[in-house]
């Protein structure tokens, strides 16, 4: 989501690997935004709660990061949202590596909203930008190492031996004479000790857990129905819980003129009908009563002065706009295009996309007097806490957010304007009862905050030797950041980096490259969507490189290599994926390979897709993927994320589009917003480049390469170049 994390990450990590870390530095980096007496972890041993420092202060966050109970159970508070990416396993792995505990005794819990749990790269609690492991890499290992040193000190005090002569193995401290003490038995004593000032972290060569394929800790509960997602909050936890459904304006920006609830009020179970900022909510004792009530509600809308977008007109306008240069995002002299031996001109179109997480949006709110308690799967606790407080006239600390598991999110649950939180809080405030506001699938698909519709126009020239001589790239689309609280930080000189990332910072050494941007002011709400700007920029860049290879009469892999001489990581991924996919070998008739490689979120992912086309339908048989994500913490999760990112990108490439007619979204559910299904899933092989000093992003980098890899394979097979997403497969009918 927020880009350029890798740089911050790299500068952070370079001074810590295997070296000594000063406690004060740790505080500075990890707790800069929190203030007060926070040391990154506290102990709770048995019933006794105390800060791990000498002079405990009133403890408002007793479970900061780690709890070691008297029975030896190790509980890690996970500060990020778990929505599939595996943080409830990978973050505990970081702690456990340094702690030296018995992995089978490790449990993970989702942390509530608190400044303590800030993302160390963003300065607020947030899950996104493929940063969960990256920003926790130092912090969580420090937590584990600090606790281990205190447990060792407790044991050495007890045995009256030198702490340096003790070692830790599988949750046991072992003394020089073979004395043994379990962590659980030492927890109370360790709790009374001062926090060590010098912490030494392990060197990568000594890792036992990090780098080892490790099964997820949340598998069992997700396989037997006991895992609790936001939608699973019931009256058992929140007495008198009501359910709300909202009829929202069918056109973005529309307001309620009037509504008629005569037919709603008699429906058994319906308790309230309340007007919200952009709709009318029906509150009831059950979902079905609320749904029946909403169906019976009639609302008259006020669309005065409200734009009613039409996709067909927008496409024409975007492509026309793309023919003129926009605001310079990256300067370059493209004069030589006029004298190029060959030029290739290409227009790319990408539609609005809904995130469509399997768990529709929901938010449970209980307001009592001076406090508010919320249950939701959110990627953005800090922002949502502030928004909820604003709606209620509270201070953020009066709002407690319980982070629940989320059934996917892909960016939708990280909304700078907290749309679904504000609405749910408003409804609970007005109804004066605890309310769970639920979005139906139709509400989700039509509810906005889409990946923006984009158009790219690229004119690139080749010299007589078949080398790229200039590249003029124009991007058209709405800004994700404009109008949000992040605009001052993320939009520089009128250029929203999330509109052009992946072009302006391409690793390819392309001479005379210019990128310009037209930022469209639209009324359709837009938002980051798994891999953000890279969702469209990688498609344009990697399709274009393939076209230029063809124009130069060169092999697509060989052609790319020429522009990666100064990019050893990228070149290595390209070469590895070509080798693993057996690039260049003869394929069965009717099959072809396509390649794409792209850097995002500090990582590089290369993919080779093997496709066939029958009756105008693309079938992707196999994808070979290679990822360089720095130091691989959990290879099992990394492979899963890349597999999933490919499915996510393939869904968009083949099916994904949200379109408008007279201001209204034309899609509504999975019949007209289809998701890739099991029978369409290609075989996927994932190879992880070994080595790396520290981790880089994993959740998103697998998505960008798949659409261009497939388009390039289709081009190799049929000679037809698909430049619109989703692919217009009709173009492939013979």
């Amino acid at each position: 989501m927020i880009s350029k994390k890798s740089e911050a990450h790299d500068s952070n990590s370079s001074n810590i690997d295997g070296g000594q870390i000063n406690r004060r530095e740790f505080l500075k980096t990890s707790a800069a935004t929190t203030g007060g007496l926070i040391i990154g972890f506290n102990f709770v041993a048995g019933n006794k709660i105390a800060s791990a420092q000498d002079a405990p202060k009133p403890n408002t966050s007793p479970n900061a990061f780690l709890r070691i109970a008297r029975d030896g159970a190790v509980t890690v508070q996970v500060k990020h949202l778990e929505f599939g990416q595996g943080v409830m396993t990978s973050l505990p792995m970081l702690v456990a590596e340094e702690l030296g505990c018995d992995w089978t005794k490790v449990r993970a819990e989702l942390a509530p909203a608190s400044p303590l749990y800030a993302n160390t790269l963003f300065g607020m609690q947030a899950t996104g930008g493929s940063s969960s492991v990256v920003n926790s890499w130092e912090q969580m290992r420090m937590v584990g190492a600090t606790a281990r040193m205190m447990l060792v000190s407790a044991a050495s005090n007890k045995w009256k031996v030198d702490a340096g002569k003790c070692r830790v193995e599988n949750g046991v401290v072992i003394g020089p004479a073979g004395q043994r003490a379990n962590f659980g038995d030492l927890a109370d004593a360790a709790n009374k000790l001062p926090v060590p000032t010098k912490i030494v972290l392990k060197e990568a060569k000594d890792f036992k857990l990090i780098g080892k394929p490790t099964k997820r800790l949340d598998s069992a509960s997700k396989g037997n129905g006991s895992a609790k997602f936001g939608l699973d909050v019931t009256a058992k936890q929140v007495p008198n819980l009501h359910i709300a459904l909202v009829k929202r304006s069918p056109v973005f920006g529309g307001k309620v003129k009037s509504f008629n609830a005569d037919k709603v009020n008699g429906i058994p179970g319906v308790t309230h009908v309340v007007q919200t900022a952009n709709g009318v909510a029906v509150v009831a004792k059950s979902f079905w009563a609320a749904k029946t009530g909403r169906d019976a509600l009639t609302v008259e809308w006020n669309f005065d002065g409200v734009a009613k977008p039409n996709t067909a007109e927008m496409r024409t306008a975007y492509l026309e706009t793309a023919k003129k240069p926009g605001l310079v995002a990256k300067a370059g002299n493209v004069e030589s295009l006029k004298t190029a031996a060959k030029t290739v001109t290409a227009e790319f179109e990408m539609p609005y996309l809904a995130h469509a997480p399997m768990e529709p949006l929901n938010c449970t709110v209980s307001v009592t007097g001076e406090s508010c308690e919320i249950w939701a799967g959110t990627q953005f606790q800090t922002v949502d806490q502030g928004a909820a407080a604003q709606v209620l006239g509270f201070k953020p600390e009066q709002v407690k957010i319980n982070t629940m598991l989320a059934g996917g999110g892909f960016g939708r649950r990280a909304n700078p304007v907290s749309d679904y939180f504000r609405e749910a809080v408003d409804i609970a405030k007005q109804a004066k009862v605890p309310v769970k506001t639920i979005w139906t699938r139709e509400d989700d698909i039509r509810g906005g905050f889409y990946r923006p519709m984009m158009a790219h126009r690229v004119v690139a020239g080749l010299d007589s030797a078949g080398k790229i001589s200039a590249w003029d790239h124009t991007v058209v689309g709405q800004s994700i950041m404009a109008g949000t609280p992040f605009e001052p930080m993320m939009v520089k000189g009128g250029v929203d980096n999330t509109s052009v990332e992946g072009v302006v910072d391409t690793p390819y050494d392309i001479p005379n490259m210019q990128t310009t941007l037209h930022t469209i002011k639209g009324t359709v709400p837009v938002l980051w969507w798994r891999s953000v700007g890279h969702t469209h920029t990688a498609f344009a860049m990697e399709s274009m490189m393939d076209d230029l290879a063809k124009a130069a009469g060169q092999d697509p892999v060989q052609f790319r290599r020429a522009y990666l001489a100064k990019q050893p990581r990228m070149l290595n991924v390209l070469n590895t994926v070509a080798e693993k996919a057996n690039w260049g070998a003869t394929l069965p008739k009717g099959r072809a390979l396509g390649v794409a490689v792209h850097e995002s979120f500090g990582s590089i992912c290369g993919q080779v897709a093997e496709v066939s086309v029958e009756g105008g339908k693309i079938k992707v048989h196999r994808v070979v993927a290679v990822i360089d994500c720095g130091l691989a913490v959990n290879p099992l999760t990394i492979a899963a994320q890349v597999e999933g990112a490919i499915a996510f990108g393939l869904t968009a490439a083949r099916y994904g589009k949200v379109t408008f007619k007279d201001g209204q979204v034309e899609q509504s559910n999975f019949h007209d917003y289809p998701i890739l299904r099991l029978n369409e899933m290609p075989k996927v092989e994932v190879h992880i480049i070994p080595g790396g000093a520290s981790p880089t992003g994993v959740g998103e980098p697998g998505t960008p390469p798949i659409a261009p890899a497939v388009a390039n394979a289709v081009f190799a097979l049929t000679g037809k170049r698909l430049r619109s997403l989703p692919f217009n497969e009709d173009e492939l009918k013979a």
């Binding site: 997700k222 396989g223 037997n224 006991s226 559910n669 075989k683």
Partner: protein, 166 residues
């Protein structure tokens, strides 16, 4: 009054007869393992068994259940096939966000109860109604094969593990 059993427990209810089984399970019985994904039988997240058949609870009105036997994810592990499917799901590290997995496991269990060693096309036919937005499909397929091997393994011998590449 509509009378049926849920997870072996007999019950009768006077809820509105058009109430979908999904919401009856979730709102009336607090059985939240069965998930809401689409509401119109397109995604399979709400899959339960009615008399042993996999059905979409979101499109099954309670009025259709008189005398029927409903089994949900909360109980499926008590059947030998359900237990082996759940174990295979862990062995293959299938889940990501996990939201669709109740439905996946219910569909897979219904498949394996009928066909002990399903072919790839059997799996395609039985499982393509269950959407997974995280894209765990290849591991779902692998886990079904692992569970099928576990189911047919002779009693008293160590169970073999199918190694199926994604």
């Amino acid at each position: 009054m509509i009378r049926f059993t849920v997870n072996g427990e007999r019950l009768e209810t006077n809820v509105s007869p058009d109430t979908p089984l999904l919401w009856f399970l979730r709102d009336n019985l607090s059985l939240t393992g069965t998930k809401f994904g689409c509401g119109i039988a397109l995604c399979g997240a709400c899959t339960v068994h009615v008399d042993g058949e996999a059905v979409r609870a979101c499109a099954t009105p309670v009025s259709s259940l008189n005398g029927k036997r409903v089994t949900t994810i909360e109980e499926i592990g008590k059947t030998p096939v359900g237990k082996s499917v759940q174990a295979a799901w862990i062995a293959e590290d299938v889940v990501q966000c996990g939201y669709c997995q109740s439905g996946q496991i219910m569909s897979a269990t219904a498949l394996l109860a009928k066909i002990k060693t399903p072919s790839d096309s059997d799996i395609d036919a039985a499982m393509s109604g269950n959407i997974c937005r995280c894209g765990t499909y290849n591991r779902v397929r692998a886990a079904i094969k692992t569970a099928s091997v576990a189911n047919v393994a002779p009693v008293g011998k160590p169970k073999a593990t199918a190694k199926v590449k994604a």
